[in-house]
Subunit: 344 residues, 4 copies
């Protein structure tokens, strides 16, 4: 069976394991106060075009999301996101558990629009009884979105403009950042993201690392005491260097970008195969996640050799399923899947 | 100026103040462990047709809502309500602040439908990754709804059926319970509500008391340690007898039902006046809250002598406003308003 | 039976009920945005010697404590108090429930000492791993203390000095403020307290009001959004004027100070009677709470006619009990108690 | 420089890295639903003498502690521990952040005594106002304790007896479990611990793994929905098999016990060297942490070649420091340290 159901079903890029092996005899300071965390941060900063940011390494995406957001907001403030946003739909209410209300807008192809954001903020601004509602204060979006689509530079600028005009923070969940940056047609880079956001993170778990996410805090007001928030929320790894080392390995020679871009190209090949067969992409995107609507027969045939993920039903009753490529996807596996699609 | 903007703009029914006066020389045990809380509970129980409930007196509706719900739910469980539900829209995220996520369904005339509830529960039931989402576990609705409409017996039974089939708790916010029960055409009574719910409360603040809400806990599993939850959430009044005494006064001779029914009838008169003028009710209801869509001229004229509440805009651009009658509304004021409506 | 067990066993000073009666026909804006809240605030400010404070009326002490403290602190910060502090010992963990850790120091006669505070702060300051512990950030004390003792001006200044040197907030719980200010030998007044603290409250519940506490926010940084915190924590009364009116009544002519001072004097008479009998005060104080250690026989005899509160045992095995006078205590009752003490 | 400051300054036992390497080409189901988590659990269960437990793999100790305890307790309940307990002293108030109050007793050589526990519970049981305080409901202790001492079977049985008599849960933090079990004179084994507790965890981070803790839930009432709590608290690793595989590797052939026992023996050698020099152990223990009081000269000399951790001051003004051995400690390093101690 071929596993396409997600992009975190293999361990790590060989270079990561090699780095762990090579440093295993060395002793390091604990809790992220080691040289590899410094070196990993330095390599990441090279891509940001700025050094005035704090970089912290956390263990997973849910943890990064609620730790940063609950660190940034006060109890009377809320986070705004698309209704399909990961914090709203797949994190077991972690943000509400941390005391923060989420205000949602209907997504457009998985994305939050500046217009929808504007309406949420305007409703608060025009309220006569502001103390009876929460203050929208932070915008959460993921790049790429839950549906693998990427925001254009223009879309992000429009959202940023709303943020600036209304004193909102902008936070980007980059669990799959590499796949977004590497997508055909994408016009956004890390410099742009670092110039736009108050904080964002670069996912490692889904992009070649064994585990770990690199959180970049741009806004000075969010920097102080963040390590205390990490510790309090179970996000400070005793052996922090394991994370710094992995991000050093991924960023020192651009490996991060190379392996995710390759996966995007593989996904394009698979998408093409589906499209040729007249199978609709829903929605279209150019990143490593492929969403298609299969009829019962198609689903059954593909399921014989391939594991993919059920994502619900389309309005015409077909099953929507997800295939993911990743940094670990073999060219031969892609060929096999394409051959099976062609046979449908 | 006449104040119609809400139903809590006067102190208390004279009988309440008289009761406070008459007991002011007496000394009582603190924290609700006094004779008046017992007597108030007994009088309420007579209307419930059952004595196996616990009754606690809290200070306000927001407090009653989040204290009961956060007492009832575990961190991984969520509350379900209509999107316009008070806990979702007017309580500054108090429930999320208490760690509980709210799942919302689009309201129909202010009400949650059994069908919408079913869909939310079905989505959880059919999920392959239940531990990544919250378990819908409690249904919150208010009687009457935020828009003054009342649920029929049949509608509540359909909701209850979903609750039984899916092991959900049912909680009714009765901040305006008297006005719901007294509405023309209502077929629900407190016996029915006490047979249906796991907990509900009878509002005092808006129904003749100075302040206070009587929370009725029906489900045995929710009874234990509730006083600790009250204390922990700032809801245990040192001079608890002030609340018991007020509810005794309202329920001993049925005053609660009489004064709210009167207000419903007054609202009907006002509604009739609007309808005669061709001014749309939005929505129609028979309780003490009147929602109408006024054009700019109508709004301006009425605002000269009357204070009412802005509720947003209708799709055709007219202003939706709310007029409330209450236990304290004078017949003469109703006449004055009607006269002004007729002059429009 | 005479009730001495607490100072909140009667309704309200007659002037309070009269004020409620006189305004009962009037309609007011809701949620504390009314004229009585303004007028009540103005009267209080006259005693503070400053007008640049925000005054909010809350419903009870526990609520005032956790709402203010959790509004003021961030998740990684903690509150410091004496181990017997009300927030630590009598509020069902309300502050921890709101996410805030409490650091405690052994009390001296119910009071926190500047020295103990210094040690707690020094331990944080000297820590190499500050992100693994909470930052002590707010000092909580009550005036008078849990044991009815009052801090001298000098003691408070010493505590303030620690706060200034270490950037700590100072918050005073004044649930019994009147009794503290009226105590023989007390050298503190409200002007001093308002010059010293970041926030404090003046208790109404135990000092002549039906219910309610007036929270004074001095520090500008704590003012913004406090009404949202009140609403979110169930502390915003719909009929807010009921609170403003009560505090207006208590402060407009100094009634607050007069009735609490009288109670202190009554307590002094009772204390004298105990001391004459050789019964030890534990500890000595001059406010309305009398703590004495009774042997079994003394306890039994007094319990025949008097209700008092059990406070544990002294080291020599006698029962420590509390008698309270209050604004509602009759001179005749004091005489009766003294006569019974003399007969021991 | 030799690093003795903690027991988590090296990566992982070589067998762990080898296992990661060997499985790196394989694809697995996510979130702990894979075969290695099953196999790891099975190996652990062999040492517990029972299979009716749930085993979950979490990422770190703080996370394991607050996730389990806040899953187990309701808001009005509290956890009891020694004042030096890790949850009270080194986790940035994580448990209070999760809403849970901690009640502490003075530690005896780092341990909670059954007697101190009894007093805390008795204070609650005898209270007349239970709803004003939290209900002590869970006992937290670590094995070995914060000071490296181990509880005897008899001590744990006495604590268990208190738990049984008062309906308390017993939870053991086993971050250093291996070092406790391997200590000379220890009479406790995992079978005993699994028979005694409601939940406990086996630390991997400090005992040979790269990272990870294996939480064993014994009490059926705590099992349901625990995966939801893990996800909500950021403790569910996407690539869960990384944890299962590590614990399989440590437990399949008893490696866990072997490598920690070796470290205990190394620590004994170092302790002997200190004692021979007349340097006091504070306290005495037989696990991998060595606490000694050094005078300024001794400290200075040892610091030239060795890194150790500052733990405060003894009453006579000497510095208390900690040296740790671990699974990764070389015999040659031990010899070097002993030689330097002998030269003092």
């Amino acid at each position: 069976m071929y596993r396409w159901n997600n992009d975190y079903n293999h361990g790590a890029h060989p270079a990561i394991l090699q780095a762990l092996q090579q440093t295993n005899q060395d002793a390091f300071a604990g809790y992220g106060l080691d040289e590899w965390c410094k070196k990993g941060s330095l390599e990441i900063k090279k891509y940001l075009g700025r050094t005035d940011v704090d970089i912290h390494f956390l263990l997973g995406g849910t943890q990064a999301n609620y730790t940063l957001i609950s660190h940034a907001l006060r109890p009377w403030q809320s986070a705004v996101c698309a209704d399909c946003g990961h914090i709203n739909s797949h994190e077991t209410g972690a943000l509400e558990h941390a005391g923060i209300k989420i205000l949602t807008a209907p997504a457009e192809d998985g994305k939050l629009s500046a217009k929808a954001l504007h309406e949420i903020v305007a409703a608060y601004r025009s309220s006569d009884v502001k103390e009876h509602i929460t203050e929208p204060k932070l915008v959460y979006l993921s790049f790429p979105s839950e549906l693998g689509t990427v925001y254009s530079k223009e879309q992000l600028q429009a959202i940023k403009q709303e943020c600036v005009q209304n004193d909102l923070l902008l936070f980007i969940d980059g669990a799959r950042m590499g796949y977004g940056l590497g997508a055909a047609g994408n016009d956004v880079d890390l410099k742009f993201i670092a110039s736009l956001t108050d904080a964002f993170y670069l996912g490692g778990t889904k992009c070649g690392a064994l585990f770990g996410e690199a959180l970049v805090i741009v806004n000075d007001a969010l920097k102080k005491h963040f390590r205390a928030s990490m510790k309090q929320n179970g996000g400070m790894l005793a052996k922090g260097w394991l994370l710094g080392l992995q991000f050093y390995t991924l960023f020192a020679d651009g490996l991060y970008f190379e392996i995710t871009k390759k996966a995007d190209a593989q996904a394009d090949l698979i998408r093409n195969a589906f499209v040729k067969k007249g199978i609709a992409l829903c929605p279209e995107n150019r990143t490593n996640q492929i969403f298609v609507a299969l009829d019962r027969e198609q689903e059954k045939i593909l399921a014989e050799k391939h594991i993919f993920e059920n994502e619900g039903y389309s309005q015409d009753g077909r099953r929507i399923v997800r295939f993911c490529t990743s940094w670990s996807t073999d060219a031969a596996d892609v060929d096999a899947l394409i051959a099976d699609i062609e046979k449908l």
